[in-house]
Symmetry: C2
Subunit: 220 residues, 2 copies
């Protein structure tokens, strides 16, 4: 459990009894790339603390359209897979492993219990929620006020930075699911970016040719 204590930021502010309760209830899990870890609805899976890998949180429409809300990386924690923990949390998200991921699962009733008696844990939880809220507000502003060409440019630049390569192995369908739109719309937009010399398209790959021009488009 040495390890978990390094990853959980307020560990040192727990009482010895709380530390024991938490470490005694944890489980270590792994998820293969592409697998669904939490599936919205009524489930209360628990809190996820990412040890390594990458998770994606998204919402689904009734018609099956998706939009990515945020990503979780090493040391990030996910509250919304344990929404039963906070009474006023009334929305459903789905969590998918975007890469092979190792994480700890904290049972919701254990975390809730500790949060109710510990001001540091409650305030830490507050900070996490505020941080996700800020990401969702940023996304909402993008959807409301930004045109799709800028959003595609921003997404491609973010992927380049996450993956550390300009050769993105990604389908048009996947990009559409991230941005909450249809594949046809993304294909049209990528072809436009290709005609402007910013990207090069080939089967299953988007290559970034002109990062600077994409950045300019994004900031326009």
């Amino acid at each position: 459990m040495m390890d978990f204590s390094d990853y959980f930021p307020v560990w040192d502010q727990l009482t010895p009894a709380q530390q024991m309760r938490l470490s005694g209830s944890l489980s270590e899990r792994t998820a293969k790339k592409g697998s669904i870890i939490h599936n919205g609805g009524m489930e209360c899976t628990g809190l996820l603390l990412v040890r390594s890998g990458q998770l994606r949180a998204y919402i689904l429409s009734e018609a099956g359209r998706e939009i990515t809300l945020y990503r979780l990386f090493d040391r990030d924690i996910c509250l919304f897979s344990a929404s039963c923990m906070i009474h006023s949390l009334q929305f459903d998200i789905t969590i998918e492993a975007e890469k092979d991921t190792e994480f700890w699962l904290i049972p919701p009733e254990v975390y809730k219990n500790i949060m109710e008696e510990s001001a540091p844990v409650a305030n830490y939880t507050n900070e996490i929620m505020a941080s996700r809220f800020s990401e969702v507000m940023w996304l909402m502003e993008q959807i409301l006020w930004k045109s799709l060409d800028k959003r595609v440019a921003a997404f491609l630049l973010e992927e380049t930075s996450i993956e550390g390569t300009k050769q993105l192995k990604i389908t048009h369908e996947t990009i559409a699911n991230h941005l909450g739109t249809h594949r046809e719309v993304i294909t049209r937009m990528l072809r436009y970016l290709q005609s402007e010399g910013m990207v090069k398209l080939s089967r299953g790959t988007v290559e970034i040719l002109d990062e600077k021009k994409l950045e300019e488009l994004q900031e326009l």
Copy 2:
């Protein structure tokens, strides 16, 4: 201060010292209908606890377009006018009085201080944030997956319920600002609803003629 203690749900869970600190720092304020109480940006106005009246929280685009995030009524508390209090809160909202409003203003540093030492206050703050987060997620789903006719229908029904009348004194511009769109688009949509017999338009007024049909449209 008897009064404030009735409105602040976790008052009884504060220590006497915390109660004194809080009640000693409060101020009672009033805001006229139409006035701006908190103006985004760098300001850290403080927490607002509504005694009576109605507030509207919205965001603004650079081009001056608005969209309503949520409303606050009697006994509601607003955290985001005190975003300096929570480090990870990185977005700006504007708060306007939609009706003449009486409220208490809690200085952010006093609240922050108490929240850091009190688990009940921190957990209460968590619940408030979760509740606003849920409202914003609902709104995002509306924007993403629902067509504008359904959103206008839902808005008119909500107004009817808030105002307790079917004669809504509201301009097309105001409806556009609530829904994040342009006046022309709203005018066109209202004319369509009028041609379907659901509303009747006259200068500065939208009268609801067929509530049942609006409800059906909203739920379609």
